[in-house]
C-alpha cells in the first residue's frame, strides 16, 4: 500500500492521532512554560540558585524517555499509563529549554537599563514586568520553539504507554516492518514540527517591540486556544468506552488485541477502546494494575518469569495454575488459554540452514562462531539468552548485539547477524525465508497465550469475559502464524485480519 492510499483510507483515525499529538505537545509545553519561566526568573535574580536549578533540569533532560516512562508508571497520581503520564514526561523534557532561554534573556538585559528603572522608582515587580520581561521575551520565545520541536519528536514515544499520537503509526509500522505505516506517522510529525516552529517564529516577530501590538497578541492567543480546543474536542469526541483492551508492541500482540476487542464488540455488544502498542511486558502489566487497560493477552511463561520472578518451567498446566493464583492475588483473572504456545524460536537464514544442514539448535554448536543479536527482553530474562549458551554450548563471535525486537528478523535476513531468537509464531519467519531450529534440548519453557482480565472489570461486564472465554482453545499456532504473516508478509490491516479470523471460526453474536 502506498502512503497516499494509506492516508486516504485512514483519514479519520489520522486526524484523531494528529489531534492527540497536538494536545500532548501543546499542553506539556504550556505546563513546562508555567514551571520553567518562573523558575528562570528566580534563577536569573539569584545566581546562587541558578546552578542547582539548571543542573536539575539538565539531569532530567538526560533520562532516556522510555526509562522515564518506566519510572513514572508505578507512581500514584502522575503515573499509570496514558495521556497523563505522557504529559508528565513531555513536560519534564520541555522545562530545560524554556528555563535556559528565560535565564539567558533576563541576564542579557543591560545592567544600566535595569539600574535606571530602579532609580526611576519602579518597584521590583514593575522592573520585571515593564523592563526585564519585555526585553527577555524574544529569548523566551526561542526557548519555546526549541521545546515545541523537541516535544513533537518525543511525543511519538508516548504511544508506547498508550497515550496515542502519531507514534502509533511509527510503532505499528516497526511491528509490521512496513515503511509506509512508519512514514504515515513520521511525515505528519515532521510537518507538525515545522508548522509549529513557523507559527512560534511568527509569534516571536510579535514579541519584537517594533511590531508588537496588543491586537496581534490577542488574535494569536485566540487562534492558539481554538487550535488546542479543536484538537482536544476531537479527542474527547471519541468518548469513554466500556472497556479498554491493551497489547504489547509487536504484530501478534496487536492482532490478539484486535481479536479480543472485536470478540467483546461482537459477542457482548460493548464499546471497546484499544491501547495497542504498549512498550513491553512490564508496561502492559502496570497498565492493568493502574486501571489503564482492562484486558490483554499474556503468555504464561512470560508472566511466571518476568512478572512473578519464578524460575521457568516446561510444565504447561503447572505454569498456568501458578500464574493464575499469582494473578488472583493482584486482583487479576487469567482466563483459559487461547490454544497456542508462543515459545522462543532460534532462527537462522534458510540458505545457511540448507547449506550447513542445520535443523536443530544443537547443530549450531558444531559449526563456526556465530554472530548473534537479540531483543532487549530476551537478553535480560532468566529463560532467555543467559541460559541458552550453557544449554547448547554455543560459541559466539562476539557479545550478542542488542536490537529492537521488530528489527531482528530483518537483521538476520540481511546478513547483519546469523542467529537470533524470535517468536515461534512470527509471520516474518515465512516472509523473510528464515528457518526455525528445533529446541532439541527443551531449553525454552512454555509460553501459552491466555487473556488476563482485571477482575473488577470482569465483574462489571460479565458478558465481556464470556465473549473472551469463547475464544479459548480456538487459536492454534498455525492460525497465529497465518495471521502474523497476513499482517507482516501481506501488509494487511491487523483489524481486518482479526475480523477475517473471527468470521472463519464462525464467531458470532450469542443466540
Amino acid at each position: 500500500m502506498n502512503l497516499i492510499a494509506f492516508i486516504a483510507s485512514h483519514r479519520a483515525e489520522m486526524a484523531t492521532r494528529l489531534g492527540e499529538h497536538v494536545v500532548l505537545v501543546a499542553v506539556s509545553t504550556l505546563i513546562a512554560a508555567a514551571i520553567g519561566i518562573p523558575l528562570g526568573i528566580v534563577a536569573a535574580h539569584r545566581p546562587a540558585l541558578s546552578r542547582p536549578i539548571v543542573g536539575l533540569a539538565n539531569l532530567a533532560q538526560t533520562i532516556p524517555s522510555l526509562a522515564l516512562f518506566g519510572f513514572l508508571i508505578p507512581l500514584p497520581v502522575i503515573g499509570g499509563i496514558g495521556t497523563r503520564t505522557a504529559l508528565v514526561a513531555l513536560t519534564v523534557y520541555a522545562v530545560l529549554p524554556i528555563l535556559r532561554s528565560t535565564i539567558t534573556g533576563l541576564q542579557g538585559v543591560p545592567p544600566a537599563v535595569v539600574e535606571c528603572a530602579v532609580a526611576m522608582g519602579l518597584t521590583p515587580r514593575q522592573v520585571l514586568s515593564q523592563v526585564e520581561w519585555p526585553l527577555a521575551l524574544p529569548s523566551v520565545v526561542s526557548g519555546l520553539r526549541v521545546a515545541v520541536v523537541i516535544g513533537v519528536g518525543t511525543a511519538t514515544i508516548a504511544s508506547a504507554i498508550g497515550a496515542g499520537g502519531l507514534g502509533d503509526y511509527i510503532f505499528r509500522g516497526l511491528a509490521m516492518v512496513d515503511a509506509t505505516v512508519i512514514l504515515a506517522g513520521a511525515l505528519p510529525a515532521a510537518l507538525l514540527a515545522l508548522a509549529a516552529d513557523a507559527a512560534l517564529g511568527a509569534a516571536g516577530q510579535l514579541a519584537d517591540p517594533r511590531r508588537r501590538s496588543r491586537r496581534h497578541v490577542v488574535v494569536l492567543a485566540v487562534v492558539a486556544v481554538l487550535a488546542i480546543a479543536t484538537a482536544w474536542s476531537g479527542r474527547a469526541a471519541a468518548g469513554r468506552a466500556d472497556l479498554v483492551v491493551g497489547s504489547k508492541n509487536f504484530t501478534e500482540q496487536v492482532v490478539l488485541g484486535e481479536l479480543l476487542a472485536q470478540a467483546i464488540e461482537r459477542g457482548a455488544g460493548l464499546t471497546v477502546e484499544r491501547r495497542l502498542n504498549l512498550g513491553g511486558t512490564s508496561i502492559a502489566h502496570e497498565a492493568l494494575l493502574s486501571d489503564g487497560i482492562d484486558v490483554y493477552v499474556e503468555y504464561t511463561g512470560t508472566a511466571l518469569t518476568a512478572i512473578f520472578k519464578q524460575p521457568p518451567s516446561a510444565d504447561s498446566e503447572g505454569v498456568f495454575t501458578t500464574v493464575q493464583e499469582r494473578y488472583a492475588g493482584l486482583g487479576l483473572s487469567l482466563l483459559p488459554k487461547l490454544g497456542f504456545n508462543n515459545t522462543f524460536a532460534i532462527l537462522v537464514r534458510g540458505d545457511d540452514a540448507r547449506r550447513l544442514g542445520l535443523t536443530k539448535v544443537s547443530d549450531l554448536a558444531a559449526s563456526r562462531a556465530w554472530r548473534a543479536g537479540f531483543g532487549y527482553e530476551f537478553l535480560e530474562r532468566p529463560d532467555g539468552f543467559k541460559g541458552l549458551g550453557a544449554a547448547y554450548g554455543l560459541s559466539l563471535a562476539a557479545a550478542p548485539r542488542v536490537m529492537d525486537l521488530n528489527l531482528i528478523y530483518r537483521a538476520v535476513a540481511a546478513g547483519e547477524i546469523d542467529v537470533t531468537a524470535g517468536d515461534a509464531t512470527s509471520g516474518l519467519i515465512e516472509a523473510l525465508g528464515l528457518t526455525v531450529l528445533e529446541d532439541d534440548r527443551h531449553y525454552f519453557p512454555v509460553y501459552d497465550a491466555a487473556p488476563v482480565f482485571r477482575t473488577a472489570a470482569m465483574l462489571q461486564h460479565p458478558a465481556a469475559a464470556e465473549a473472551v472465554r469463547r475464544l479459548a482453545g480456538r487459536v492454534s499456532a498455525t492460525d497465529m502464524r497465518r495471521m502474523n504473516f497476513a499482517v507482516d508478509g501481506e501488509k494487511r490491516d491487523p483489524a481486518g485480519v482479526a475480523r477475517a479470523f473471527l468470521d472463519r471460526i464462525g464467531y458470532a453474536q450469542p443466540r
Binding site: 544600566a112 535606571c116 526611576m120 517591540p209
Partner: protein, 242 residues
C-alpha cells in the same frame, strides 16, 4: 533661609564591604547645581547613589527635603528624583515618548496629560515632538539620546535631579551644545542638581558650587572661582595646574 534640597551629615558608606566614603558632610541648596568632581574611585557615584536610596549609608544621615533617606519610602523618593546616566540608559523596547512617559504613568497621570507633558519636555530639550515622539532609542544619535534621557528625568517635575557623567560619552561639539541646553533648561526650571563629572571645565561651567572628592573625603567645596584659587595640590592636579 530655604531648606537645603539635600544635606549629607557626617556620612560614611561602603560598597561590597570596602569603605568608600569617610565622614562626608555637604549641603546642596535648593535650586543650585552642585558638581561632584574627583578621580575614578574617589566616591562620586557612591555619594550620588545615597541620595535616591540605591544605597544606604553605614553611618550618618542623608537628608532629602529635611527627611533622612532611611525614613523615606524608597519608591516614593525615587519618583520625585530625576536620574540621568551616561548614554542615558533609555529603555530599548520603548519609544522616546513611552520612555519619557514612564514615571508620569506610574504616578497615575491621565493619558492626555501625559501626552501633553511628553511634547512639552521634548520641546524643552530641543527635540521636535512630531519627529522624535515615535523614534526608538537606537535610532537616536548620542546627543539626542542624552536629551531624551534628560527629558525622561524631568518628566514628573522632580524638585531634585541626579546626573552621573551625563555628557561623558559625547563628542566635544555635541557636548558644548548640550552644556548650553542644560544651562538654558536650568535657568528656566531652577532645580537642585547634583552633577557627577570628572571634567573640571564642565563643573566650572555648569555648577554653582564644586565639591572635590579625594579617596572618599570632601577636600574642598566652594564656588568655581574660589576653587580655582585654592593651593591644595590635589585640587590643582585635578584642575590640570600642578
Amino acid at each position: 533661609m530655604l531648606q537645603p534640597a539635600v544635606q549629607f551629615a557626617d556620612v560614611s558608606a561602603s560598597r561590597g564591604g570596602r569603605p568608600v566614603l569617610r565622614h562626608v558632610s555637604l549641603v546642596v541648596p535648593a535650586g543650585a547645581t552642585v558638581a561632584l568632581v574627583g578621580r575614578s574611585g574617589s566616591g562620586k557615584t557612591t555619594l550620588l547613589r545615597l541620595v535616591n536610596r540605591l544605597l544606604d549609608p553605614d553611618e550618618g544621615d542623608v537628608l532629602v527635603a529635611g527627611t533622612s533617606t532611611r525614613a523615606w519610602d524608597a519608591i516614593e523618593l525615587r519618583r520625585r528624583t530625576g536620574y540621568v546616566i551616561q548614554d542615558a540608559g533609555l529603555f530599548p523596547h520603548l519609544t522616546v515618548a513611552d520612555n519619557i512617559a514612564t514615571v508620569p504613568r506610574l504616578l497615575g497621570w491621565a493619558g492626555d496629560r501625559v501626552e501633553a507633558r511628553v511634547d512639552e519636555l521634548l520641546t524643552l530639550v530641543g527635540l521636535e515632538p512630531a519627529v522624535f515622539r515615535g523614534r526608538w532609542p537606537d535610532q537616536l544619535s548620542g546627543g539626542q539620546r542624552q536629551r531624551a534621557g534628560l527629558a525622561r528625568a524631568l518628566a514628573a517635575d522632580p524638585p531634585l535631579l541626579l546626573m552621573d557623567e551625563p555628557f561623558g560619552a559625547l563628542d566635544p561639539i555635541t557636548k558644548n551644545e548640550l552644556h548650553a541646553e542644560f544651562q538654558r533648561v536650568q535657568r528656566r526650571l531652577q532645580r537642585a542638581v547634583i552633577l557627577v563629572t570628572h571634567d573640571m571645565a564642565e563643573a566650572c561651567l555648569l555648577a554653582d558650587q564644586i565639591a572635590v572628592l579625594d579617596a572618599g573625603e570632601v577636600i574642598a567645596c566652594d564656588t568655581p572661582a574660589n576653587i580655582r584659587g585654592l593651593a591644595d595640590p590635589r585640587v590643582r592636579a585635578l584642575l590640570g595646574l600642578a
